[in-house]
Amino acid sequence: MTEINEQKVTGDFSMYFGPAHPGSGNFSIKCEMRGERVLKATADPGYLHRGFEKLMEYREPMQNAVLSDRVCVLEPLQWNLVHAEAVDYLMEYEVPERAKYIRVILAELSRIQSHFIWYAAMSLGTGFMTGFNIAIGYRDYILDVLNLITGGRVYPAGYICPGGVRKDLPEKAENKILELLPKIDYMRKFALKQNPAWLARFKEIGTLTKEEAIKFGAVGPILRGCGVESDVRRDDPYEIYDELEFDVPVMDDGDAYARFTVGMQEIEESMKIITQSIDRLPKGEVKTPNLKPRVQFQKAEGEIYIRNELSRGEGAFYMVATGQKTPYRVKIRGPSFTHMIPIIEHLLTDVAYADVPAIYWSMYQCPADVDR
């Protein structure tokens, strides 16, 4: 994968970071190198394109709920939620109160496990295998609970579906979730320990200023790590977020360490949200009554753009219905797109090649939602 560029001085060459690099995920970055330094980087996406937007035009909303899991493997429940909200709006479903609480609890659990993967990936990218193993181990406790509730460890198969959720919480699920919280807290504290090796790899690396972040369209923890307080759960509340108390962590430094720290602080806020939701969890239905599993668009007409705060930032669905069984048009806005193309190209200018994995993983990207 290395080409010597003969026109330039000796020592200039191009090098690919990914897609076969163990720390790159399904993404590739072409780096123009001079010795050990990256002069210019060009993102090369497209390895995970599955054509969801077109596929969804050929499937009915309930089938699309199953498909929406796969937009991002690492946060499937949150994608379920955005999709379900778009259909709920178009079909004018009144979502039962209990279902709204369950949706929020699961979305937050999904956020926490995704943030653990972030820590795991940053550890892996910088050769800290212990961190990777511990984070993946603790994530597994969450997956066990997700399996208990949704029937799948990673893919919930549209558990959060149009009209509510597919099934009520099983017996003792609330207790199981509450039992998880001390484990999550242990892992969070472990990740936030001031490990000197960790600081050396991430502090003052890949610094993005507030102005640049806004200019490039950064969202989520990446934007909050640059000192901008922005969170869709707060700014444009959906489900029951306006009734819950939580803070939006922000850090001003804008470097890889700040972004990551914001992410780990968010875990604490998610824990608060889960505790409050379980405390207030009402009894009753979890699905719009009389809703058959086959949800059709027969009478829906109109369009909607709906956005949610996913683990990686603002993710959205734009959906148009024209009274057909299937949506007329679906457009998905993934949070990683801006992080992975303009921002990463900007940050990987004149840096050491050894810092590429550190900067790359600090962007908390998901190649799956870049390509969709």
């Binding site: 309930m62 089938q63 199953v66 399996n147 799948g152 198969a157 099934k167 086959r294």
Partner: protein, 123 residues
């Protein structure tokens, strides 16, 4: 700092490991787990709802082998696990609870034909 590491090591020596010794030990699989299908031909009314909702077109309504056709004259769902995404929409939509996803997920195979679940096997 050093004492902290010692305490952590001692604690870890006495805590239960995160992993189990598979295949000698197995973790408990929750009842809702979406695994291999279980089909009850006697309660099935051949409505075809499962085949219509399947997002992956993994279900085909087929006739049973000729020697059983007298007993089961209609068409019944045949699932291709190779195409299935284990979403359990077929289970949710079945009016007679004839098709169910079980906790069994041990069905890795080298033979493509093993992935087909026939509604009923000839004797």
């Amino acid at each position: 700092m050093k004492l902290g590491i010692v305490i952590e090591v001692v604690k870890n020596v006495f805590t239960k490991p995160m992993t189990v010794l598979f295949p000698f030990e197995k973790i408990e699989i929750p009842e809702r787990n979406r695994g291999e299908h279980e089909f009850n031909i006697d309660t099935c009314i051949s409505c075809g709802a499962c085949a219509r909702i399947c997002p992956n077109l993994a279900i085909e309504m087929v006739e049973v082998p000729s020697e059983l056709r007298e007993k089961y004259p209609k068409t019944y769902p045949q699932v291709d696990l190779g195409k299935c995404c284990f979403c359990a929409l077929c289970e949710d939509t079945c009016p007679k609870e004839s098709i169910k996803l079980t906790t069994n997920f041990y069905f890795a195979t080298f033979d493509k034909d093993d992935t087909i679940l026939y509604p009923v096997k000839a004797e």
